[in-house]
C-alpha cells in the first residue's frame, strides 16, 4: 500500500460521504472521519520522508493529471484532515437536522466537498488543475459561510467573501497563465528556482494567495465572514482555509525565484498584520469578530517567519532563516488547533445563548464549565503563553529574529519586527483576558446567560481533542522536530536539523516542569485555603451593598484605554449626545469600531465605481424609441467608420 492508495481511499470515502450527507447524518460522519484518518495516515507517511508522485496519461482540460504529495503539502494536509474530522464531529450536534432541517444536509455535503477540494489543492501539480480546484474550494467556502441564509448579515458577508476571493483568483489566473507561457505552454508545476526571469510573477501570487490568507490590508472579507458563518465553518475557515493561502505562498516562494524586495514586503505586511489585527481584535465587542481579527494577527506572525526565511535564503541560507520558517510552519498547525478550539467554544456559547455580544453574557463558567475551561486553555495558547503550543512557535520565530540581530551583518536591523511581535503579544494577552473575563467570569448580565446549558458530548469531544493537541505540542515540542526539519528541508533543500539549531528539547523540558510546578502549587494553595474556614460572601464592591450585574465592567470599558490611544487609527463611528439642562432628558453615547480599511478605503472606492456605472445606467431607461435611436446611431457610426477606413 502506498500513500497514493491511501489518498484514493480517502477521496472515495469522501465522495461516499457527499452522497450520504443528503440523508444519513451518521453514515456521513463515519465516512468523513474515516476519510480524515486515512488522509492523516498518508500525510504522516509522507512526513516521515518519502514523498509520493503519480502521473497519468489521462487528460483533463487538455492537461495530463499529475498528483504529488511532498512533505510541505503533507504538513498542510495533516491540518486539513485533523480539523476536517474534528469539525465534522462537532457539527453533528451543533448544526444537526433537529435544529436546522433545511440547511443541515446542505452543510454536510458542502463540508465533504470543501475538504475534498482542499485536499486536491494540496496534491495537484498542474497549474490548470490547481486553478480549477482552487476555485471549487473557494465556492464551497461560500456555500458553507452562507448556510444560514435567512440573515441579511450572513448574505452580505458571503458576497464580500466571494468578491474578495475572486479578486484573488483573478491574480492567480494571471499568475499561472504567465507561468505556463514562460514554460513554453506547459502547466506543470515544480521547482524552478534557477530561472530568475520568473521572479516578478511572485507579486501576482502574493496578492492572489494573500487575499485568501487574509493579511492586512487584504483581510477585509475575513472578520464578517468568520463572525457570521456557523461556528464549525468559522473554525475550519480560520483554522484551515486561510492556511491554504499560506500554503500557496510557502509553496511558490520555495519553487520559484523571488524578487529581492519580496522578503521585506512579506515581513512588512506580516508586521503590520500582527499589530493591526490584534489591535482591532482588542476593541471588538463581538467575540467571534474578536477571534476573526486575531486570525489576522496570527497570519501576520506566520508571514514574519516566512519573510525572514526568504531573506535568509538570499543571504547564503543562514540558519536563522530555517528557524523562523520552522516557527512559521509550526504556527500554522498551532493556530489551526487553538483557533479551531476557540471557535468551537464560541459556537458552544452561541448555541446556548444565541448572542455574540460579550456584554450580554457573563458568568458562563458556572453553567458551562467545560466550555469555559477549554476557552481559557485556548486563550493561553493563542496569547503565546508558556507552557502551551503558541509559545513554542513564537519562540522559534523570535529566535530566528534574535539570531539575525546577533549576527554581525548589516541586514540585522530587520529584527525590528521582534519589537512589534512583543507588542502584539501583550495586546493578545489583553484581548483574551477580556474575552475570557467578560464572557465567562462574574455575574450573568442577562437571563439567557444565567440559564445557559453546557454543550453535549459530540461538541465537547472535538474540543477536548484539540486541547490535547495544544498541550502535546506545548509540552513535547521536540517530538515534532524531525518532521519539521523534513518540511523545512523540502522547502528549499538544505541539511540543517532544527533540533541542532534551537534547544527545543530544553524548552520542552522547561515547559513540562512549569506545568508540573503549576499543578503542585495549585494543589498546595488549594489545600491551605480549604483547611481553614472558607467562607462565602458578597463581592466587596467598596462598601456598596447592592451591586447589580449591569454594574460590572463591560467589554467596551475594558478595552477603552487602548481604544483611546488608537482612536486616530481606528476612526470609530461615534454618536454622543450629552445630558443637558437641569432636568436632563435623553443622553446617548454610541461607539462602533468598524473595519477601517473596509469602511474608509474599499467602500468609498466601491461607491465611486458604482456612481460611475449609475451614470452610464441613465442610458438604459426602457423607452423603445430611444433604443431604436441607439441602434440607428450605432449603424450610422459603423458606416462612417467604414467610409473613412476606405473599404479594405
Amino acid at each position: 500500500m502506498t500513500q497514493g492508495e491511501l489518498l484514493l481511499f480517502a477521496s472515495a470515502v469522501l465522495f461516499g460521504s457527499v452522497v450520504a450527507g443528503f440523508r444519513w447524518p451518521r453514515a456521513w460522519l463515519m465516512f468523513v472521519v474515516c476519510g480524515a484518518i486515512t488522509a492523516m495516515a498518508a500525510a504522516m507517511w509522507t512526513l516521515q520522508g518519502s514523498s509520493w508522485e503519480w502521473q497519468s496519461t489521462f487528460m483533463l482540460g487538455g492537461q495530463p493529471l499529475h498528483f504529488r504529495l511532498d512533505s510541505v503539502s503533507a504538513w498542510f494536509l495533516m491540518l486539513v484532515a485533523v480539523m476536517g474530522g474534528a469539525g465534522a464531529i462537532y457539527s453533528h450536534e451543533y448544526w444537526s437536522d433537529d435544529h436546522y432541517p433545511d440547511s443541515a444536509p446542505k452543510g454536510r455535503v458542502w463540508w465533504s466537498l470543501f475538504l475534498t477540494c482542499m485536499g486536491l489543492v494540496l496534491t495537484v501539480s498542474n497549474g490548470l488543475h490547481f486553478l480549477i480546484t482552487w476555485e471549487l474550494f473557494a465556492v464551497c467556502g461560500y456555500f458553507l459561510i452562507t448556510l444560514d441564509r435567512q440573515r441579511g448579515e450572513t448574505r452580505a458577508a458571503g458576497w464580500l467573501y466571494l468578491a474578495a476571493s475572486h479578486a484573488g483568483t483573478m491574480c492567480l489566473f494571471a499568475f499561472f497563465a504567465l507561468l505556463a507561457s514562460h514554460n513554453n505552454g506547459s502547466w506543470e508545476l515544480g521547482p524552478m528556482r534557477e530561472r530568475t526571469g520568473l521572479a516578478p510573477l511572485f507579486w501576482l501570487a502574493l496578492f492572489g494567495f494573500g487575499v485568501k490568507a487574509g493579511f492586512f490590508p487584504l483581510h477585509i472579507w475575513l472578520p464578517s465572514a468568520h463572525a457570521n458563518a456557523p461556528s464549525h465553518v468559522s473554525a475550519i475557515m480560520s483554522g484551515v482555509a486561510i492556511k491554504m493561502g499560506i500554503y500557496g505562498i510557502v509553496r511558490f516562494s520555495g519553487w520559484l525565484p523571488v524578487p529581492t524586495a519580496a522578503p521585506w514586503v512579506i515581513m512588512g505586511l506580516g508586521t503590520v498584520s500582527a499589530l493591526f489585527g490584534i489591535a482591532f481584535a482588542f476593541v471588538q465587542n463581538d467575540f467571534k469578530r474578536l477571534l476573526a481579527y486575531c486570525s489576522v494577527e496570527n497570519i501576520g506572525i506566520i508571514m514574519i517567519g516566512i519573510g525572514v526565511a526568504l531573506l535568509a535564503a538570499t543571504h547564503g541560507d543562514a540558519a536563522w532563516g530555517r528557524l523562523a520558517l520552522a516557527g512559521a510552519l509550526l504556527h500554522v498547525w498551532n493556530h489551526g488547533a487553538f483557533k479551531s478550539l476557540l471557535f468551537f467554544c464560541a459556537g458552544s456559547v452561541l448555541h446556548a445563548t444565541h448572542t455574540r455580544e460579550m456584554s450580554r453574557l457573563g458568568g458562563l463558567l458556572r453553567t458551562m464549565p467545560w466550555t469555559a475551561g477549554l476557552f481559557a486553555l485556548g486563550s493561553l495558547a493563542v496569547a503565546g503563553l508558556p507552557p502551551l503550543n503558541g509559545f513554542v512557535s513564537e519562540w522559534l520565530i523570535y529566535l530566528g529574529l534574535f539570531d539575525a540581530a546577533a549576527g554581525r551583518e548589516p541586514i540585522a536591523w530587520f529584527s525590528i519586527p521582534a519589537i512589534i511581535l512583543a507588542m502584539s503579544g501583550a495586546i493578545a494577552v489583553a484581548s483574551f483576558a477580556k474575552a475570557v473575563a467578560i464572557t465567562f467570569l462574574g455575574r450573568p448580565r442577562t437571563s439567557t446567560a444565567a440559564h445557559s446549558v453546557e454543550c453535549g458530548i459530540w461538541m465537547r469531544g472535538p474540543m477536548l481533542a484539540l486541547a490535547c493537541i495544544c498541550l502535546a505540542i506545548g509540552l513535547a515540542p521536540n517530538l515534532f522536530c524531525p518532521i519539521m526539519s523534513e518540511v523545512v528541508a523540502e522547502w528549499r533543500p538544505g541539511q540543517e536539523d532544527i533540533q541542532a539549531l534551537a534547544p527545543i528539547a530544553t524548552l520542552g523540558a522547561a515547559q513540562m516542569t512549569l506545568a508540573l510546578l503549576i499543578l503542585a502549587a495549585t494543589a498546595l494553595l488549594w489545600r491551605q485555603t480549604c483547611r481553614k474556614d472558607l467562607r462565602h460572601g458578597r463581592t466587596w464592591d467598596c462598601g456598596y451593598a447592592l451591586p447589580t450585574a449591569r454594574m460590572q465592567y463591560t467589554s467596551a470599558s475594558f478595552s477603552g484605554i487602548a481604544a483611546n490611544w488608537l482612536r486616530r487609527l481606528f476612526l470609530p463611528e461615534r454618536k454622543l449626545r450629552r445630558p443637558r439642562s437641569i432636568f436632563p432628558t435623553e443622553a446617548v453615547y454610541m461607539e462602533h469600531f468598524q473595519d477601517a480599511v473596509l469602511e474608509r478605503l474599499i467602500s468609498p472606492a466601491a461607491a465611486a465605481v458604482q456612481q460611475l456605472y449609475s451614470a452610464a445606467r441613465r442610458l438604459q431607461h426602457g423607452r423603445l424609441q430611444f433604443y431604436i435611436l441607439y441602434v440607428l446611431a450605432g449603424v450610422a457610426g459603423l458606416g462612417i467608420l467604414v467610409m473613412i477606413g476606405g473599404g479594405q
Binding site: L385, A433, T522, T529, H536
Partner: protein
Amino acid sequence: MMIIANLILRLTFWLLLAPLLPGVINKVKAWVAGRRGPPVLQLYYDLAKLWRKGVVMSDLASPGFIIGPAVAWVALLSSALLMPLGPAGSVLSFRGDVLLLIYLLALARFSLAWAAMETGSAFEGMGTAREVSYAVLGETAIITAVLALIVHSGSVSLITILSPAAGAGVALLAAGLFIVLLAENCRVPFDDPSTHLELTMVHEVMILDHSGPPLAVILHGASIKLLLFTMLLVQVVLPVGEMSPFIATGALAAGVVLVTVGVGLVESLLARLAFRRVPLLLTVAFLLCLFALLVVWKGRG
C-alpha cells in the same frame, strides 16, 4: 547532587530575600518623611499571618479565584529562577531563555487578571483593564532593551547578554528599565501601593477581594517580581561577568540596595501621575530603550 544543592540555595535566595525589598522601600519612605515607619521585616510578618488565616470568597468566584494566584506565583518564581545571579550563573540557561522569562511574566499577568475578574466587581475590572493595557507598552520596552543587549553581546541567552558591560547606551537602558520597573511593580508615579482610593489604583485594586493564603501568595509573588526587575536592572548596568566573583557579589548586593533606595526616594519625592499621562511616561521608557538599541547599532558600525 550539585544541581539540587544549587537549586535549593537559589530557591532560598528568591523566596526568603524577596520580601525584604518592600520593607526597605517603606523604611526609606518613613525616613524621608521623618517617621519611624514599620519594621523592615513587616512583609514577612504579614505573609506568615495571612498564610494562617481563613479565606472569604465571593459568591461569584470559581476555583479560578485560587488557581490564578498559584499560577502567577509559579510563573514569577520560574522567571526568577531563569535570571542569572551574577557570578553564581543561572540554574537553567539555553538559547532564547530570555523570551521564556518575558512570557512567564505575561502568564502571571494573565492569571492575576483572571483571578481579579472572577468577582464581577467593576473596580477590579477597572484595575485589570489598566494593568493589561499599560503592560503593552511595558513589555514593548523590555523586549527593546533585550534586543539592544542581544545586538551588543551577539548572543541570545540571558547569562551571556547580562555579563558584559552594556556599552555606550547603558545610561539610556538603565533609565528605561527603571521606569518599567516602577510601572510593572506598582510603584509611584504609576500606582500608589499605600493608597486607599479604589478608583485610582491599578494593582492593588485587582486584589481587593483576595484574602488569606491566596493574598499571601500574590504579595509574595509581587515581591519576587520586584527583586527580579531590580536584579535585571543591576546586571544590565554592571559588567558582572568581568569582575572577580567576590567583587561581583558585593557589587550586585550594593546595586540592589541602591535601586531599592532609589525606588523609595522616588516614592517619597514624586506625586502620582494622572492616568492619561501614564502611557506617555511608558512611551518615554520605550523610546529610551529604542535609542539605546540605535546607539548599539551605531556603535557596532
